[in-house]
């Protein structure tokens, strides 16, 4: 009985959580019976996908490579833009408070917009093809990378900055020699993480015909060519795993530390 008294403090949060879960399940009309009935249909669909159409592998290599290129270039452009915006968004480096608020506002607004909306916006502005895909990924990277960069910049040790300012260094020199060496490992880790995210987003670009293997995936599903769909899924899986391994290798080489598995 004495043991149960220890858990008294958890009772109220558990009751609230249970009520919220139950209420959410009612609103979303969660129905386990429907799920169980639908499983055979799912298995039937997966059965139609086997064996994958191996002949299309060589044809899908080009779009797969395009997907990686779009993600890579989009990440680089996004990282460069994010870096410059973050210099204004960081409170210890921003020239004045108004510029800092504007920069933070831009980053918050961009993070609030769903990635799909940004992609559709660029497709409407510049048309179809890989270029709007690159710009969309760059723009969607700015919100996340800009905030992470700005937060990292605000946490730098101020002593080297003060020391350099005391001997007459310019702002650019302070950033180059005092700030960047402290923040570079964190920046690189964030950029590599964003590259992983952009690979997945780049696959989705094909849905809106902005280039890449996603287009082949969607078209094969619409044409009920499920064997080709599975081939595209296998290529996407291989692509994602290879890109993760490469980014882990570069992270270890540049940062010199074990990556969390």
């Amino acid at each position: 009985m004495g043991g149960l008294k220890r858990y008294r403090g958890y009772l109220f949060p558990v009751i609230v959580l249970t009520l919220l879960l139950w209420g959410g399940a009612m609103v979303c009309r969660v129905n386990l019976a429907v799920l169980m009935e639908g499983i055979p249909h799912g298995i039937n669909l997966i059965g139609h996908m086997f064996p994958p159409q191996w002949e299309v592998f060589s044809r899908l290599m080009g779009p797969a490579l395009e997907t990686v290129q779009i993600a890579f270039v989009g990440t680089v452009f996004g990282a460069i833009l994010s870096f410059f915006i973050s210099l204004f968004a960081a409170s210890n480096l921003s020239p004045n408070k108004m510029l800092r608020e504007i920069a933070r506002g831009i980053l918050s607004t961009e993070r609030a917009l769903p990635d799909l909306i940004i992609i559709l916006l660029f497709v409407a502005i510049v048309g179809l093809g890989p270029f709007p895909g690159v710009m969309a990924l760059a723009a969607s990277s700015i919100g996340m990378l800009g905030k992470l960069f700005a937060d990292t910049l605000e946490e730098v040790d101020p002593k080297p900055l003060e020391a350099m300012a005391a001997v007459g260094a310019t702002k650019a020199q302070i950033i180059r020699y005092a700030v960047l060496p402290q923040v570079m490992p964190s920046f690189i880790a964030n950029i590599l993480y964003r590259f992983d995210v952009n690979i997945r987003l780049s696959i989705f670009l094909g849905v809106v015909e902005a280039g890449g293997i996603g287009f082949n995936l969607i078209m094969s599903m619409r044409l009920l060519e499920y064997k080709e769909t599975l081939a595209a899924i296998i290529i996407i899986l291989i692509l994602v795993v290879i890109c993760e391994k490469i980014s882990d290798t570069f992270r270890k080489r540049i940062l010199g530390q074990e990556v969390l598995r």
Partner: protein
């Protein structure tokens, strides 16, 4: 060898290969995707 030379040699060893590979892949991707200043 002076201290500055040793430091640059360390940076060179650490960053030369990944840096060159990065620039090569970026340049090739930009050309392959057909991104040019005219598009902007």
């Amino acid at each position: 060898m002076s201290k500055e030379n040793l430091q640059y040699k360390r940076y060179y060893k650490k960053y030369f290969f990944p840096g060159s590979l990065f620039i090569l892949i970026l340049g090739w991707s930009i050309v392959d995707l057909g991104i040019s200043p005219r598009l902007f």
